[in-house]
């Protein structure tokens, strides 16, 4: 066995193990030298990225991968944990690692003046570990454990600016909401185990009966994961924590939020995919009912997100509400894909929705980084206190323009590619939904034009000799540049990403039999 084959063989375990080890080594290295620590954390994330790339090329060419911790062959009911990686999981892992890499590059300058950074790097790497674990695992209980790790670490990271009361409040709120949510997930895992004596997602999906208890489990899992993903009316924690955490932290937390969204996909498409598409209720197939429920949630999410963003005066909080609305677009696409299961436009909707996960990460991430750069230079949060920044921060202004056009879905940027697919397919399900979606996109553009005008144009405000406005440091510009370049690239060549990553991911979601067929039996 060559070393490369060995790496491919072991990569699902290594992807989680490398950042976990790195998390605790960074704080050791931080005792010796701070610069070495930063480089080491970057190195660990890059190494994980290489492993993910290796695994991705393997999964995309030769189908889903099963990695077993414990008993390989089942004679007696043995305890074992499996990782099951298909093209959807690997797509999410790629998004997570891009966000993590950019976040670490950005925090190099952004967090330079703060102390306690050893702990910051440890927590950030642990959060990356847990996000990757949630995406790669094929076991319900393992999913819960990674979810809890992500709760604890992201809560500690939200409270990074611990001297501000608002950051503490946001962190406490997030911890209360997410730990109760996680306990209900544990409760539903217990119910599943009590009925079917299994914890593997694949095994559970193959034996699911869709009894009354199973319906309760479906509701619990979807509601809790939707809460973690920031779907209205369970979104209250999201603007608070996104608005109060440092932007480099927000990127990593956004990875965890998107992983919760991936959890919803996994639950409805893989775990319940078979029963929902074959059962009837109220003379309608179940998938139509569930799909329309998701669409209703999505429309409320989009409208509330955009309208709340309209009235915000805090820059980061405003972007956080737009992030809520963007989650709504993904959910709208997924709901459409599920309600119209089997039709051609359902597949188009899912292509749009899955591509939009990547685009949301890039665009909202870019906007948060711009907001962070503005905060870094001016130390001001409120839009009313800002003005005329375009004169001194040329690059940041360009990046903000790219980000706002991309979020609003303007061609030729990446937001257009995914939103166009969503509009096109949603229109075939119901034209009113498409109209609402397009109107809210236009409103988003209006909101950001307001931001651009207020903060970057007009007279310069609050300038004293001591603040000395200047451009953001180089590492922050590099981080923003990566996102902006990716946004332009995907906008110009959407088919490249669609064909290589998104279409395999969507077909993995739709053909749940492949995922289930990988595992036979087991706890």
């Amino acid at each position: 066995m060559t070393p490369l084959e060995f790496l491919i063989e072991q990569s699902p375990a290594l992807i989680v193990a490398v950042p976990l080890l790195g998390a605790f080594l960074t704080s050791l290295i931080g005792r010796v030298n701070e610069k070495a620590r930063n480089i080491f954390a970057l190195f660990i994330v890059c190494l994980t990225g290489v492993l993910i790339a290796i695994l991705a090329s393997d999964v995309l060419t030769s189908g889903p991968r099963l990695y077993v911790f414990g008993a390989q062959n089942l004679q007696v009911p043995m305890v074992r944990i499996i990782f099951e990686v298909d093209s959807m999981s690997i797509f999410m892992a790629i998004i997570t690692i891009i966000l993590a890499l950019v976040a670490l590059v950005y925090s190099w300058s952004f967090l330079k003046e703060y102390d306690g950074l050893d702990k910051f790097y440890t927590l950030a790497l642990l959060l990356i570990t847990s996000t990757l674990g949630m995406e790669l695992t094929g076991d319900m209980f393992n999913f819960f454990v990674f979810l809890e790790i992500s709760c604890i670490t992201s809560c500690a990271l939200i409270a990074f600016w611990i001297t501000e009361g608002e950051a503490l409040e946001a962190a406490f709120k997030y911890l209360v909401i997410s730990s109760i949510g996680a306990l209900f997930i544990l409760f539903s895992i217990g119910l599943l185990y009590a009925q079917y004596n299994a914890l593997n997602i694949a095994t559970l999906a193959s034996v699911l009966q869709f009894s009354f208890v199973d319906k309760i489990i479906l509701v619990l899992l979807v509601v809790v994961l939707a809460m973690k993903a920031g779907v209205v009316p369970m979104h209250m924690w999201l603007p608070d924590s996104y608005g109060r955490a440092p932007p480099s932290v927000i990127l990593v937390i956004m990875g965890a939020t998107l992983a919760s969204f991936y959890g919803i996909l996994r639950v409805i498409f893989t775990l319940y995919g078979e029963v929902l598409t074959t059962t009837m209720r109220f003379n309608l197939p179940m998938h139509v009912l569930v799909g329309w429920l998701l669409i209703a949630l999505a429309v409320v999410t989009i409208i509330v997100g955009v309208l709340m963003a309209l009235i915000q005066s805090d820059f980061m909080r405003l972007i956080a509400y737009v992030a809520v609305a963007e989650i709504g677009y993904m959910l709208l696409a997924v709901g459409t894909g599920f309600a119209a299961w089997g039709t051609a436009y359902a597949t188009t909707a899912l292509h749009g929705g899955v591509l939009h996960i990547l685009n949301d990460a890039l665009d909202i991430g870019l906007l948060f980084l711009v907001a962070g750069a503005v905060y870094y230079v001016t130390k001001k949060r409120l839009l009313d206190d800002l003005g005329g920044l375009a004169r001194t921060m040329k690059y940041t202004t360009v990046f903000l323009l790219i980000g706002l056009l991309a979020v609003a879905g303007m061609p030729p940027l990446n937001g257009f590619a995914s939103k166009f697919l969503i509009y096109e397919s949603v229109y075939q399900l119901n034209p009113i939904l498409a109209i609402v979606a397009i109107l809210c996109s236009i409103l988003m553009l209006a909101i950001f034009v307001k931001v651009f005008y207020a903060a970057f144009l007009g007279p310069q405000r609050n300038i004293t000799a001591s603040t000395g406005l200047k451009e953001a440091p180089r590492s922050m510009l590099i981080a923003m540049g990566v996102f902006a370049a990716a946004a332009i690239f995907i906008g110009l060549f959407p088919n490249y990403v669609l064909d290589t990553l998104v279409k395999p991911a969507v077909s993995a979601l739709l053909n749940h039999a492949d995922y289930i067929g990988m595992v036979i039996g087991g706890v």
């Binding site: 809890e148 604890i152 409270a159 611990i162």
Partner: protein
């Protein structure tokens, strides 16, 4: 009837905990509420794993004449509970330290008096 009592206790604990989290205004009481929910869920897992007359699943020290593996207790629910207890301790510690910092900052534990994040 007697075998349903643990499940009734589970439901009662979850609802008492939820009541405390939703309606109490003191941060410490909210933390206590979450701990009660957690104990309820742990009790649920433990009750699931109970098997009357079962023996511990240690392969090397089975009593003579046991039919294997039917009489052994599958240790998964216990393992889940242990993991969940450990996670619970971490969450509790983090929550209490946040409460401590909040008290230092605001000088109160009342949720109503400290709300600055609105809309």
């Amino acid at each position: 009837m007697i075998e349903y009592i643990p499940y009734i206790a589970v439901v009662a604990m979850v609802f008492i905990g939820l009541y405390a989290v939703v309606f109490r205004r003191n941060l410490i009481k909210i933390v206590i509420g979450i701990t009660i929910i957690e104990s309820g869920v742990n009790l649920f897992l433990i009750t699931l794993g109970y098997r009357g007359g079962g023996i511990a699943p240690i392969y090397t020290s089975l009593p003579a004449g046991t039919t294997y593996p039917e009489e052994m207790v599958l240790p998964v629910p216990q393992a889940l509970t242990l993991t969940s207890i450990v996670i619970g301790v971490a969450v509790l510690a983090l929550m209490l330290s946040l409460v401590m910092h909040i008290y230092r900052k605001y000088g109160t534990l009342n949720v109503r008096k400290m709300r600055r994040l609105k809309e």
